[in-house]
Symmetry: C2
Subunit: 306 residues, 2 copies
Amino acid sequence: MIPEITDIRKAAARIERYIHHTPVLTSRTIDLIAGAGIYFKCENFQKVGAFKFRGACNAVFNFDDDILSNGVATHSSGNHAAALALAARVKGVDAFIVMPENAPEIKKKAVAGYGAKITFCKPTLEARESMLAGVVEETSAAVVHPYNNFDVICGQGTCALEILEEIDKPDIVMAPVGGGGLISGTAITVKSLSPATKVYGAEPAGADDAYRSFKSGKLIPSVDPVTIADGLLTSLGDLNFGIITKYVDDIFTVSEEKIVEAMRMVWERMKIIIEPSSAVPMAAVLENPEVFKDKNHSRFSSSICN
Amino acid sequence: MIPEITDIRKAAARIERYIHHTPVLTSRTIDLIAGAGIYFKCENFQKVGAFKFRGACNAVFNFDDDILSNGVATHSSGNHAAALALAARVKGVDAFIVMPENAPEIKKKAVAGYGAKITFCKPTLEARESMLAGVVEETSAAVVHPYNNFDVICGQGTCALEILEEIDKPDIVMAPVGGGGLISGTAITVKSLSPATKVYGAEPAGADDAYRSFKSGKLIPSVDPVTIADGLLTSLGDLNFGIITKYVDDIFTVSEEKIVEAMRMVWERMKIIIEPSSAVPMAAVLENPEVFKDKNHSRFSSSICN
């Protein structure tokens, strides 16, 4: 079942008190370089530093209390782990997080700092999944998938609601694509409320499973992806793929060089810290000037994800 | 002559169309660490990346047209150079900037990018001043001192106007002290509009001329200052010293270690890029917990200067 805009509006009302309404920033210099009016939705200022908190928060707060009494669980090496841990703490329930033992120290610390119970495992998908299965068997905790989940998609879609409140009928809204949680929530919101706006995904060429899936019309998993944008290594979920197929206008792939160039440009010109995954849509603008340039009101919004 | 709040209000009206009204950001994590409610005034998002543009803009726009027809001039290795260059460009007049030949490449590029005419000189104060004198003799340009200047102080004071619009009667407003332009403008604004608010300066212990001047009651210049906060190496101006003596409640000095700790904390927790000079007030909070902690509504605003 694909979420509708009413589901996303319900999510917005559900999480409103717990999330930050993040600012939209602009830079005249970057507009000059791109030849377009570009609006950056600063989800790097979101709680836990990423849009992931929207989805995790919506999922946790939408569970029935009896399900929630056993806590929530997931496996994740990064922002979703921290997001779920914080959402669980806010709700006052346990969070059981399976993390690969080679996860970055700062992420382990963040997840532990939010009071989650961490179980470490070998850094393979198999080890993560079997360890999570064991944790769930023991605790009966409710699993919250990081992107292939109805409530998570609805939560991520609330970000675009805020964009459209602030920017009237943008020409383009673009988001990076990893597992597809952000782009699918974004696409539903934008196409429901501003049908003439183009929705684009942006993906590293070194992890282009969404691009290949989109172009071929069948879900192709990521095999040995290599990119500095470590938040976009995961393969597209099937729920996300269905939504992207239905609502997204196009997906752009970008080189590693352009990702670094875009990230540096945002650091230097906008004075905000974004991770490589977050720079991927700006990289798509730099790499495809003909698509974005010389449109007087070409507008574009990068949902910056940590 | 010391500026009054009416002068600062005039400056605000004069530069309003040309500056960014910068956001105030907060972080729950940093509030927890500090045990206080801390508001960060993000002048790193100001044009040219620093509050310096407020003062330069006010100075340039307050000149009579016949004076301005010869252009404006200054010597500076950093943000004031870029700020004056941009203000001159906005006004459509020439900017003549004397820069030490060892100024950072990125600053040289920024100043050149704003269309200023740059003259390079040896990196000594004597060389800078004599070169500037030569440039002024040749061009009859009007000199705009980076901080020891009535109009510049009024421009910097507009930042605190915005703080007080957003935060009602903060307990404390704190700013870093280099030449003293920001702290003196800030002190006039705050003490005029919210007399019960304490105004504190924060300075690196390795460049503590303002601290020593403030405590001894006489202007003591900086001798061989050493600090990572390279925006705060300059000695206090005499106009600035008079204002600080009259309006500032106290000045704190901080160690290099705390400056780095505070800067890293802001990068990691707030996801914004600030330079070491800008982290000095936060370092003062970390180093003097008893002053800021356990005050329920202790509020503090760091005017982040690029």
